[in-house]
Symmetry: C2
Subunit: 468 residues, 2 copies
């Protein structure tokens, strides 16, 4: 290589390096972000709002009176924030009801009651159902059975979450299929019901519920979660005695008629590009255990706080910023699907969709579903945001509610950026979908920092929308 070629080569390298170090924000952003965090930490409303949502309203599964109350309450709260549009968006969804009977017992010797609960969407047992249990280590082992081989049995899916994964959502993702698909898979081989090890990183005595689904043409069999400690006990029974018989009684059902419910939409119109939309949201429904505090009351009050922060600080967005509180994320996602379909039908131009649905824990950044070049641009804000503990700006899953915006049928914009607030995940599955997902397990500062992080991201995406 001649000297000149070397020089060109070195210049190329150097320009790459310099480009990587280019700033994509200015001093006014530093001041504004500081103002957002000051306002949230000193005068934040999220924590008190979450207290009300959890204690005065409570858990709020789609179709419940509490879900409707929560919508009305959120509308009333947000109406104080000078938004330009505040409306309900009709959503039709199924209404699943837990019913009054819900028990599972090991029937050997004397009945030993397990900590159990029906999975959301399950059919009832139609009175006590007794059968022999067959334990499998997870979906992989279950798939090795053949038709008829599990006839009359209760299948016990006992795959634990992998505690060695640092991000607990990775551990959840790796085995949640046993909860969602376990019943349909077991029914293929003749099973009459399934019991599923609760999805938690703890060994605890709480049943953690969650959604399950059936498949067309396959028998619908009842499904219940049992606590991880009870799963270990049942496993020991089977190991010691070679078998176990379980009696279970679930009276849950899906109501015959769909319910008419709503998403809540609130927006501040953009001063320059009102037709361009930055949407941010969380889901207002929850499971019917605990109070839906982390899942997703935290996200709800953080998103409401974004609007309050914009008003309190006097931020005038260039693009339209829109909060959506989605209904039915937990068991059907009809809120997210309805919103996306309507956006497509209306030809709306979404720049970005942000979701908060990973609990009200210390925020660490955002998990971003976008093009690499877009993520690189966002990641440059780390220098601005790391003093607020935000250091994670990586490619990854965004969220359930905003997912439909990028589905094949709804996609209107190939540049759409989806992202999810990414808090510390260590404690999330201690509470998830259980009676312990209550207000007392949310920390005020962690919650308010999350709202400030959401507001900051909305502000930066709005100001620098043209970079994407």
């Amino acid at each position: 290589m001649r000297v000149r070629n070397k020089l060109v080569y070195i210049l190329c390298l150097l320009s790459l390096v310099l480009r990587a170090q280019e700033k994509s924000y200015d001093t006014s952003d530093s001041l504004l972000v500081r103002a957002i965090f000051d306002e949230a930490l000193l005068h934040g409303k999220s924590y008190n709002q979450l207290n009300y949502l959890c204690k005065a309203i409570g858990h709020r599964i789609t179709g419940s009176p509490q879900a409707e109350l929560a919508l009305e309450w959120a509308q009333s709260e947000v109406s104080r924030y000078n938004v330009d549009r505040l409306m309900m968006q009709n959503v039709q969804a199924e209404h699943w009801v837990r019913g009054d009977k819900e028990w599972v017992a090991i029937s050997e010797d004397v009945d030993l009651l397990l900590n159990a609960c029906a999975l959301g969407g399950s059919v009832s047992t139609d009175g006590p159902l007794q059968a022999q249990v067959v334990e499998v280590s997870g979906m992989e082992e279950l798939s090795r059975y053949s038709a008829g081989e599990l006839k009359g049995k209760i299948v016990f899916l006992n795959e634990p979450m992998d505690k060695s994964l640092i991000n607990t959502f990775d551990a959840y993702g790796a085995c949640v299929s046993q909860r969602y698909n376990g019943a349909a898979e077991a029914a293929k081989y003749g099973a009459v019901a399934v019991l599923v090890r609760s999805m938690t990183t703890l060994t605890d005595v709480k049943a953690h519920t969650g959604s399950m689904g059936y498949k067309e043409g396959i028998a619908r069999i009842p499904a219940a979660a049992i606590s991880t400690q009870d799963a270990d006990i049942l496993h020991s029974y089977i190991e010691d005695l070679g078998t176990a018989t379980v009696t279970m009684n679930l009276s849950c059902y899906t109501a015959a008629a769909k319910v008419n419910t709503n998403n809540l939409i609130a927006e501040i119109r953009g001063s320059e590009n009102p037709e361009k939309v930055i949407v941010f949201g969380a889901h207002i429904d929850s499971w019917d255990k605990g109070e839906g505090a982390h899942d997703d009351g935290a996200g709800v009050v953080q998103c409401m706080e974004v609007l309050r922060l914009f008003k309190a600080i006097g931020i005038k967005p260039k693009n339209t910023i829109r909060m959506v509180l989605y209904m039915n994320e937990e068991n059907g996602n009809m809120g997210g699907k309805t919103y996306a379909a309507k956006a497509k039908a209306d030809g709306e131009n979404h720049i970005c969709a942000i979701e908060s649905d990973r609990g009200g824990f210390s925020p660490r950044g955002f998990s971003i579903d976008a093009k690499d070049s877009q993520i690189m641009t966002i990641a440059k804000w780390e220098e601005l945001l790391e003093e607020y503990g935000l250091h994670y700006f990586k490619k990854g899953y965004s969220g359930v509610d905003i997912g439909p915006l990028k589905s094949k049928e709804n996609r209107v914009n190939d540049n759409l950026i989806l992202m999810g607030l990414f808090p510390d995940s260590q404690r999330y599955f201690d509470y998830h979908h259980s009676k312990d997902d209550i207000f007392e397990n949310v920390n005020q500062r962690e919650l308010e920092l999350g709202g400030a992080s959401m507001a900051t991201m909305v502000y930066l995406m709005d100001k620098y929308w043209y970079l994407f």
Copy 2:
């Protein structure tokens, strides 16, 4: 500038850039760090050990039977980890006793009992002490008084922690002087006692204790903390009525004789440089409220876990690695001072000192007290460690116990690196020095991740000691 000069200039820049990107670890480190975290998350012992320390032993102020029990228990636990040396190191320290009387009441109308506790080190009130209260907004306002002006008064120091600071330790550092120095300063102007607003980011009903000190030649007056909610109430009384009278009764005292107690030392001798020492530690004493779970039971069991992890994984350090469980961090720091003085007297060569004393929360990195060039070298490990949530490697305060190693009188090595494990700080002052610093408020995964982070840093400092 001629082309040749430009070329030289660019080459210089490029070499700087390349140097900055140089890796200071290899693939074997990735595997080893993974093994450390796997072992800690799947088979960690910290959480169960902390349970024992908190529930079977309890809080353990220097001089208490529990402090001695804790030392014996820790020695017995660590003896299972094949260490090369396990010994007690004599420490002489003062023994402060809370006594059986501890109340503070607003005496206007009917007595209103406040949530209060004596500050550690305080003298007693010698029976009920009643006086008018003078409120000051903090040490700055107090310093504007002159001699005699506060004669016979109880001074109420009411500076709140600044909730807008992201790192709560910054907020603590900014106003803890009112707790430590308030009594000595108020006594200069004639005050007979002080009440101090509790050091917490919460508005709560718990008194948070902590150390205070007297000064030679200034009267020793009693000092108590009141809860932040009670501080607000007392503030309102004074604001509404123009004055308030408080009666307080504290029977605390410092025992006439010092106690003989110990630090616990356990080490694995280095295979190549046994004379070089990497010390890591935490303090085994605690305040006499709650169970000393986060402060610093968490640090204690994390440091014990470092030794267990080295044994379980089979890491043979090149240098001597030494765990020290210090006594008396809370009220005198005689453990840290004794250790450092002995190290100096023995001419020991410490490479590095690491401390865990910021609670058992999700680790985020290390706060490092070292030369900039050393910090830059350590910060290069971020690439290796960020998948474990460790992203913070910055200049900052290390810890109280290891501080004396760098004091003028003890300093043996100008290259000594001090650092403190840096966990998420949001919840720390909810519990700090109060009845709520109990085992139930520690999360297993967060705690075990901290132990793994400590072990990882000891491993890396040991393997790459020659870079510093």
